[in-house]
């Protein structure tokens, strides 16, 4: 078993290879400050992040599609991060959980530092033990992309065009 520091630095490499960006911070509040500074709009947040932030000034997330579609910045939370591949594991059983990670342009995913695991197999082991989590689970590795036109890699298709993983703590 590797140390947290080793796992974080391996994760950073994996994420970089997948064209994702790393942001290290101490707590959700700090993450919020960062996200809020990125564009003129208020970031969209997933229900779980909403609960973490405990801020009275956040819009409600009742009508995810209309309020979230194509918002500049969205914040969501990952259960695990995989050092090997630079992936984050999102557990999103209800469509409302997914709205933020699907429809915003720049997605910021918060994950606790101690939830960085070594390998993809650790992620699947976790998933196998959490049958409810597998209702809708996604390993996200970098921003959405395509190479369908003349194999030219283009970042940002239906999903976000920018992905930042914020490692908390």
């Amino acid at each position: 078993m590797s140390t947290l520091i080793e796992r974080t630095s391996r994760f950073a490499e994996g994420l970089d290879a997948a064209q994702g960006e790393l942001f290290q911070c101490n707590a959700w509040d700090e993450l919020w400050q960062y996200a809020d500074s990125l564009s003129g709009e208020t970031p969209a947040v997933s229900p779980a992040v909403h609960a973490h932030l405990q801020r009275g000034d956040l819009p409600d997330v009742n009508d995810p599609l209309r309020s979230i579609a194509d918002r500049q910045v969205g914040i969501t939370e990952a259960k695990l991060a995989i050092a090997e591949t630079g992936s984050v594991l999102l557990i999103e059983p209800a469509p409302i959980d997914r709205a933020v990670s699907l429809l915003t342009r720049h997605l910021i995913v918060g994950v606790a530092r101690e939830d960085i695991v070594d390998e993809l197999s650790d992620g699947f082991r976790w998933l196998a033990q959490q049958p409810r989590a597998a209702a809708y689970a996604t390993f996200v590795t970098g921003p959405s992309r395509t190479a369908d036109i003349e194999r030219s890699l283009t970042i940002g298709v239906q999903g976000p065009s920018r992905l930042t993983v914020a490692v908390l703590g």
Partner: protein
């Protein structure tokens, strides 16, 4: 009729007439190879296991699952249904289409958004739904472009790889009613986001495929990059999954094993952007999982074919396929493309649709080396080709030529006449550098026609003085049978003579079995196993006389005897034994010269000057034969290093009958090879299979290349000391 649904001959003509296709696919294959190899190296380092070990592990998982398919289907069904999904097992494409249509109708759904699914292509779902008034919209960018152009995919994972950006700009412009700059690819991609978004919001159903069906939890796993799959499964109320029954795997641990291999082999990514696992219907929604047979159970019943059900649709087999590079997937395949398409089309779509492209495969074996589930594709393609031949899908000229070839006396008689004619042509000034100067039709001009030398290889061997031994070897004093190979005997006789000299140089004595002719390879390759058996029997009878070890300068014959004979005689135990007794004694000359007829290091170090490089016979190389490394042998014996050659093991385009049946394919592959040879700057190109040597020489002659082409036996024998 669109470019991709026309009859095979039309598709073939179109693809060879497209000047952009070859260079684009060549670029693609080379860059894929580089990134995929780097990925595989990293995987091997991290896991401390070889790619081969990793893929065999996962293949074993697939095999065990297929073995107990019905148990796993039951387990999957129970778990998926417990999670609220509906699972249906359907036998045919028509049943699958009508199931989906009836659910749509009963729910009042007239729009379905689709994520990429090869099974939905297999059952031609879009077209069929349209007949019933239901619109299906592809949301994967590549698939959407195909839909707009009314085309089929030309690659399993890069479906629109054949489309040029100018063409993409045109079809997007027509669909969206605005102009696109073909050079602004990001803008075209962005338009897909805008152009498709409204469909997600109004569609009643989303449809996806599945890369894996995980039995232990009844989950599907889908690997994508664009994010469209997640949208298609999140917004509409109904989720259809179309998947072949072979996609089952037992556990999540197996899913992880599959993921080690799939993205690396498909897009050369460590992991695709989205690996999505869904279990059951989401609250308030429906999930219908369609498990399709459509010929898969029949595949499982055929010993040679059943391994093809391991396929995880990565497309790697197309990415290393030389004929695919020349003609693309609309020609090299049907709906499934690449090597696997040549195999499974028969079972999903019938022999009619499968037969056309069979003759394009050059049997180089590259596909099997990269297949992440180790499917013996070359062997399976030859099996399907045989079935196509048996059902009457072989050109008449080919059948007749093979019938002549199968009769040694007639063959030699005709060759004799040919040689005389060539002699006359030479007198008439129609020969230059051993090739005829004939007015050939344009499509054949890329390769000159070699003349037939008056004296065959066997005649040369019989009529010369023996070579003195230059060293002792474990084979000193041992008599070996020399098998000339029919092609070398007539078209490259010097190689036969040189082989005899090199055996003698190592102290061996050469016996030339009388009446030897052809091992049956050309007929076997063409799918004509009846004729192949006739030739093989004749060769077995000839070679079983002496009981000596057998040496040949033709590695293709060694492969035919060791790999193909057991298949030819699988129903004839007596002949099988006899065939094995002979093939156990056969050696490729190159490996013989290492052991036991070993020539010492540096023993041929003085000789002709000039640089050389080596094209290594693809089939032997891809099979992992040590003797295929003629570069190492020649370096060892001459002390002169080879010049580096790019893609030294990629096929040269000879491919037996392929270069006759599909001359443009032979030409295209040869061009790739000769460009690499030219870049090497060598004076001499050596190679190990006589067919390749003849083909490469004739191509170089037609193209006016400056290098000389030799069989390595000739290259080495020229350096032997003259007898006292």
């Amino acid at each position: 009729m669109s470019a991709s649904t026309a009859p095979f001959s039309v598709r073939y003509r179109r693809s060879v007439g497209d000047p952009d296709l070859k260079p684009r696919l060549l670029d693609f294959q080379r860059s894929w190879r580089e990134s995929r190899d780097a990925q595989v190296r990293r995987l091997e380092q991290r896991t401390e296991r070889s790619f081969d070990a990793l893929r065999r592990d996962f293949a074993a998982v697939k095999d065990a699952t297929l073995e107990r398919m019905d148990d796993y289907i039951a387990e999957f069904r129970a778990n998926a249904e417990a999670a609220g999904a509906t699972v249906v097992e359907l036998s045919t494409a028509a049943e699958a289409v009508s199931y989906i249509a009836s659910i749509c109708k009963s729910r009042g759904i007239d729009l379905v958004v689709k994520s990429k699914s090869m099974v939905s292509e297999e059952i031609e779902l879009n077209h069929e739904l349209e007949q019933q008034g239901i619109t299906a919209i592809e949301t994967d960018l590549g698939e959407w472009l195909l839909q707009l152009a009314e085309e089929r995919p030309s690659h399993l994972v890069m479906p629109a790889i054949h489309q040029k950006r100018q063409y993409v700009a045109e079809i997007l412009g027509a669909e969206l009613g605005r102009e696109f700059d073909p050079d602004d690819i990001p803008e075209m991609v962005a338009s897909a986001r805008d152009g498709l978004r409204r469909h997600y919001l109004s569609a009643g159903a989303g449809l996806t495929g599945a890369n894996a069906l995980v039995a232990e939890t009844g989950s599907i796993m889908v690997v994508t990059n664009e994010g469209n799959m997640r949208l298609a499964t999140s917004l509409p109320d109904v989720h259809f999954v179309t998947a072949g029954i072979e996609k089952l795997i037992p556990t999540w641990a197996d899913a992880e094993r599959q993921l080690q291999l799939l993205p690396r082999s498909a897009t050369a990514q460590t992991l695709s952007t989205y690996t999505t696992c869904i279990t059951g219907a989401q609250p308030g929604k429906e999930m219908h999982i369609i498990l399709l047979d459509n010929g898969r159970r029949a595949m499982r019943e055929q010993d040679v074919i059943s391994d093809a059900l391991r396929c995880i649709r990565c497309g790697a087999c197309a990415n290393v396929c030389p004929p695919y590079q020349v003609v693309g997937g609309h020609t090299f395949g049907h709906i499934y493309t690449g090597a696997i398409g040549l195999v499974n089309t028969t079972f999903h779509h019938g022999i009619e649709d499968a037969a056309g492209p069979q003759g394009l495969c050059v049997s180089c074996g590259a596909c099997e080396t990269v297949c992440p589930v180790a499917i013996p594709l070359p062997k399976q393609i030859l099996e399907v080709r045989h079935q196509a031949h048996e059902s009457g899908h072989a050109p008449l000229w080919e059948r007749l030529a093979l019938k002549l070839w199968a009769r040694p006396r007639l063959f030699h008689y005709l060759m004799g006449i040919g040689a005389l004619a060539a002699g006359l042509a030479s007198l008439a000034g129609l020969v230059r550098n051993d090739h005829l100067r004939l007015p050939l039709p344009r499509k054949l001009r890329w390769r000159s026609v070699p003349t037939l030398p008056l004296r065959s290889g066997q005649t040369l061997v019989k009529s010369r003085a023996t070579q003195d031994a230059i060293a002792d070897s474990p084979a000193s004093g041992q008599t070996v049978d020399l098998f000339a190979q029919c092609l070398a005997d007539r078209l490259l006789p010097s190689a036969v003579d040189s082989a005899a000299k090199l055996i003698e140089a190592g102290g061996g004595l050469v016996n030339l079995p009388d009446g030897q002719h052809c091992c049956g390879l050309p007929a076997f390759d063409a799918g004509d196993w009846g004729t192949a058996r006739q030739m093989a029997r004749q060769t077995i009878e000839t070679l079983e006389q002496s009981g000596n070890e057998i040496v040949t300068p033709a590695p293709s014959c060694v492969i035919a005897m060791q790999d193909h004979w057991p298949r030819l005689f699988r129903d004839e135990p007596d002949w099988l034994d006899r065939a094995e007794a002979v093939s156990n004694r056969v050696h490729d000359l190159a490996s013989w010269l290492d052991s036991p007829g070993r020539l010492p290091d540096g023993c041929l170090s003085d000789g002709a000057n000039g640089s050389w490089t080596a094209h290594r016979f693809c089939q032997a190389s891809n099979r992992g034969d040590p003797g295929a490394r003629i570069d190492l042998l020649v370096e060892r014996l001459t002390g002169e290093p080879a010049l580096p050659l790019e893609e030294p093991e990629v096929c040269c385009g000879f491919g037996g009958l392929t270069s006759l049946a599909a001359p443009e394919v032979g030409e295209g592959i040869l061009e790739r090879k000769l460009n690499c040879v030219a870049e090497s700057g060598c004076d001499t190109l050596i190679t190990n299979n006589p067919g390749c040597a003849i083909h490469l020489r004739a191509g170089a002659n037609a193209g006016g290349a400056s290098h000389e082409t030799l069989h390595y036996a000739d290259f080495l024998a020229a350096r032997l000391p003259r007898n006292e």
